[in-house]
Amino acid sequence: QQQVKQSPQSLIVQKGGISIINCAYENTAFDYFPWYQQFPGKGPALLIAIRPDVSEKKEGRFTISFNKSAKQFSLHIMDSQPGDSATYFCAASKREFKLSFGAGTTVTVRA
């Protein structure tokens, strides 16, 4: 079964708006939570990642919020731009090699 559950499956946001994608996990041994961005026909590209010792990490317009007690983490895309239109995947791993991915969220930013 999928170890990381991601929602929503898709979302549409207006240019300048905020996109929010949520993920939940069960395995408390996970200690690394990355987000990947994928454009059509391309491989996933690492966007931002967080470790469980912090509750938030921000890189430019992208922010991860992490709630260890709830076993949830989310990606916020601030001031969404048409170039942000892509599929986003959350993932989780223990250091020992294996990433478990969510099912993905297709984000469409309308101009």
Partner: protein, 113 residues
Amino acid sequence: DAGITQSPRHKVTETGTPVTLRCHQTENHRYMYWYRQDPGHGLRLIHYSYGVKDTDKGEVSDGYSVSRSKTEDFLLTLESATSSQTSVYFCAIKPDRETYEQYFGPGTRLTVT
């Protein structure tokens, strides 16, 4: 693409034929992975390697085998392709045990008819 190439980039094959996909890296990274991507499933790990001749199974390894005879190449083989193996296959690398980040190649789209 983190110095990763995959070949072929597209392939159409018939059910029952053997298929080998190649992942090549130029950075001498220790860990290499094969994933498949299907709608509604995200990416699922097929096999991975933690060194030359050292490999292990992932969550969807049935019907697949791998080999790594040199650091730079990781081969994925479908011994007898089935339609359920139609997918996009991605290779990824991780430099060493201490590094968490994985970096992905451009993918191979495989269609089994």
